[in-house]
Amino acid sequence: MEPERREPSVLVVFAHPALERSRANAVLADAAKGAAGVRFHDLYEIYPDFVIDVEAEQEKLLAHQVIALQFPFYWYSTPALMKEWLDLVWLHGFAYGKGGDRLKGKQLFVACTTGGPAQAYHQRGYNRFTMEEFLRPLEQTAALCGMIWENPYVVHGARLKDDAHIRGEADRYRARLEGLAAAARETV
């Protein structure tokens, strides 16, 4: 069977302001870069000055079936540049609102790492809420844009885990991305 040469169907939009100091996210990013059918898009590398090229970004979104957001979980939200990117690229009339149906039917997939351990994200944990609850704003973003919300991929306690464990996570993450890519290729 010869491998098919097609445009990638998954766009991994990645935001990490200090990747050189990252443990888990760097490994996960490498896994994403190596995954079949995936295009990796590193926001802090392309827009170090926060001057986002709205048109180019919208074109990228349109060209992929699955939009994956990969980031470290900062103050219960995305890093600043990813928020900026959402604010400026996912525009009224494009992503939502009157005439804003361009992302409709696409899938939104969140992959994030947290510093705290899994048990902290619990009603009785020190973070008091579950990840599901913390990710509601993004889930609703998908809903407003008519997108399908994929089950998020969360790695907890990124700084506490050993290398072997993180490598295992990376393999699972990559498999998840490739699964999404393969499925998307069939639906399109």
């Binding site: 000055d49 926060f50 001057v51 090229d53 709205v54 604010d87 400026l88 690229v89 996912w90 525009l91 009224h92 009339g93 939502y96 609102g97 009157k98 704003p137 609703q140 973003t141 407003l144």
Partner: protein, 636 residues
């Protein structure tokens, strides 16, 4: 018939060019090539030379220059850190080798005095051959080079007491020859005055290097006369050599000292580059004369004796130095490499032998024999090194562990990450940012006042015209990752980019451009990225202006950010047209026409106050409708 200068020059140059090129091609190294050339044109083969001794006296100056250049690479701190190698390994080598050879000679029936004299003379190794060979093998900077150099340096130092001690071993009649080494003008003075003179001479070299030479160079650098700079460099070396000869010290040693004194001056690189060609030529000449002095008559008469003596000498010197280096804690590999490199007799032996004959220590026939042995052992060195390397490669294939070229290279200056050409208004800012982030950089600048200022702040800056490839190479361009071209002169900058791109294809070249046109030129010449020197400053002033006119800071900043992106795109769009047609060249020379295009593009692409995701005007309508329906409304 041998007298005419041009004829002699022709013979030497032709022999050198042909045989060295051939030797290199055969993988034999240049030293062996020169030696073969000398043997061919010498009195025992083609007999095209006059008395090689005459030429040799001149060619020995090559060794002086070699030591000066080595001195330039050895900062006083480095020399101090080598003191153990010099006095420990070096001292032990001279004494142990001398005694071993003396013992062997006594077995052959020489009286002890003669035997000891022969031992001392033969304990010397050849600085020129050793260093040139190590250099060619890329070993001179590593631990091998350091150990070998330490020993050689001590041998140079040992010459001084040797001239005093050897006459004490006299057994035969003393023939007072006028050309004996003590051409020293102070030889007839009492000992304390001689000592004083020696000290004064050394002091003059150190003090002169510190306080006289630098201002002189600075003055000459300001005059911007290249050849005068070169002449001054040579003048220093000749002057020091002369001074040392007067007080009876080794000129090579004096030159080394002068080099060390100047090693920390800002002119180091320029000096190196200017003197380098002389070193190469004179050393070549020196090797040729060594080749020419090999007495093939003697070798043919007593081939077995000579071969036996040469092999015996080299084996003995090898064993002694190997053992000493091992005792000193060197690995087998390191000790063996150093010992192989230093296993020959040296050029000092020629001088010392003449001297000992004059002093009645060694008889003329024995001196002739030893001279031949030394010359042949010198010629053998490049060959033994090749054989040694072959053995090592063979061993490595069986057991790949140690490497002969040790990677612990410590000359941090020769291994910069970045070379910055031009450290003026522009290069400084870039350079400071890079240095502040821990990148090692070597700076080249041609403005002497700038260098002065920077050196006062402890920056490593060298004087030199960066458009010269040899200087770039000296600065470490072969190993650096990046070249930043920030010199003022537009044409020179473009030229530098072009040359550096060709000579060092691996370098990332970033270039400062004067304007748009210059920037295109630089890119066409091979720069990886350019920066128009006034662009960022002008933009920044635009931001200040917008803020003063009432924009909020963030809005002003964004306006400039968008403008920058738009301008860079226009820059890229217009680039393919650059230089394509005569017409465009003409048009572009007309700045206003370019400006026309730019302004038109600005108007088209940069709509002032356009809405964005922060204040989506279209959304308001939706909100109003939603409010009327009283449904849940506003997205976050």
């Amino acid at each position: 018939m041998h007298g005419d200068f041009l004829g002699q020059a022709l013979v030497y140059l032709a022999a050198g060019v042909v045989t060295v090129a051939a030797a290199k091609k055969l993988g034999l190294g240049s030293v062996l090539g020169y030696l073969i050339a000398g043997a061919l044109i010498g009195p025992f083969a083609l007999n095209l030379t006059g008395d090689p001794e005459d030429v040799m006296a001149f060619a020995e100056f090559g060794v002086v220059i070699l030591l000066f250049l080595i001195g330039l690479e050895v900062r006083p701190a480095l020399l101090w850190s080598m003191r153990k190698t010099i006095f420990g390994l070096g001292g032990a080598q001279v004494m142990a080798t001398a005694l071993a050879i003396a013992g062997a000679s006594m077995i052959f029936g020489l009286p002890w005095q003669t035997a000891l004299a022969a031992g001392l003379v033969l304990a010397m190794s050849s600085t020129a051959i050793v260093l040139q060979t190590l250099d060619e093998k890329g070993l001179r900077q590593g631990p091998v080079g350091r150990a070998a150099f330490g020993v050689l340096l001590l041998q140079d130092l040992a010459i001084i007491p040797l001239f005093a001690l050897l006459p004490l071993l006299a057994t035969g009649p003393v023939q007072l020859t006028s050309d004996s080494h003590s051409a020293s003008l102070i030889a007839d003075l009492p000992a304390w005055m001689q000592a004083l003179a020696v000290l004064a001479a050394v002091g003059a070299v150190v003090g002169g290097g510190r306080f006289v030479v630098r201002p002189v160079f600075r003055f000459i650098a300001q005059s911007r006369l290249r050849e005068i700079f070169t002449a001054t460099s040579l003048l220093i070396v000749v002057g020091v050599a002369m001074l040392m000869q007067i007080v009876g010290l080794s000129p090579a040693l004096g030159a080394f000292l002068a080099g060390v004194v100047l090693a920390e001056s800002e002119f180091r690189r320029e000096l190196e580059t200017d003197i380098e060609p002389f070193r190469g030529l004179l050393l070549g000449l020196f090797f040729i004369t060594v080749g020419a002095t090999i007495d093939f008559g003697l070798i043919l008469r007593e081939p077995l004796l000579l071969i036996g003596l040469v092999l015996g000498l080299m084996a003995l010197k090898f064993v002694v130095l190997f053992a000493l280096a091992r005792v000193g804690g060197a690995s087998n590999r390191l000790a063996a490499t150093v010992a192989v490199a230093l296993a020959q007799g040296g050029e000092f032996a020629f001088v010392l032998l003449t001297f000992t004959v004059g002093a009645g220590v060694i008889s003329q026939p024995l001196a002739d024999l030893l001279t031949a042995v030394v010359a042949v052992s010198m010629a053998m060195t490049p060959l033994t090194v090749i054989v040694y390397e072959k053995i090592l490669t063979f061993l490595d294939r069986k057991n790949p562990t140690e490497s002969i070229a040790d990677p612990t290279f410590e000359e941090e200056d020769a291994e910069p990450d970045i070379i910055i050409a031009g450290f003026g208004r522009f290069g400084q800012v870039t350079g400071r940012l890079l240095m502040a982030n821990g990148f090692k950089s070597t700076v080249l600048d041609a403005d002497i006042e700038m260098i002065d200022l920077l050196r006062r702040f402890g920056r490593r800056v060298h004087y030199g015209d960066a458009t010269r490839l040899d200087l770039l190479r000296q600065a470490g361009a072969e190993r650096a990752r990046m070249l930043i071209v920030a010199i003022d002169d537009q044409e020179k900058a473009a030229e530098l980019v072009e040359r550096a791109r060709e000579a060092f294809p691996h370098l990332t070249i970033l270039a400062r451009a004067f304007d748009r046109r210059h920037a295109y030129d630089m890119l066409a010449n091979g720069a990886d990225a350019v920066e128009r020197e006034t662009f960022e400053g002008a933009l920044s002033m635009g931001v200040t202006a917008l803020k003063s006119l009432g924009f909020r800071a963030h809005r002003a900043q964004r306006a400039a950010d968008y403008f920058r992106r738009h301008d860079l795109r226009t820059f890229e769009e217009l680039r393919p047209m650059w230089g394509q047609t005569e017409a465009y060249m003409l048009a572009s020379r007309d700045a206003s026409q370019t400006m026309d295009r730019l302004l038109a593009a600005d108007l088209e692409k940069m709509k002032p106050g356009a809405a964005d995701g922060w204040d989506p005007s279209g959304r308001d309508e939706d909100q109003r409708e939603a409010a009327e329906q009283e449904g849940p409304a506003r997205p976050a």
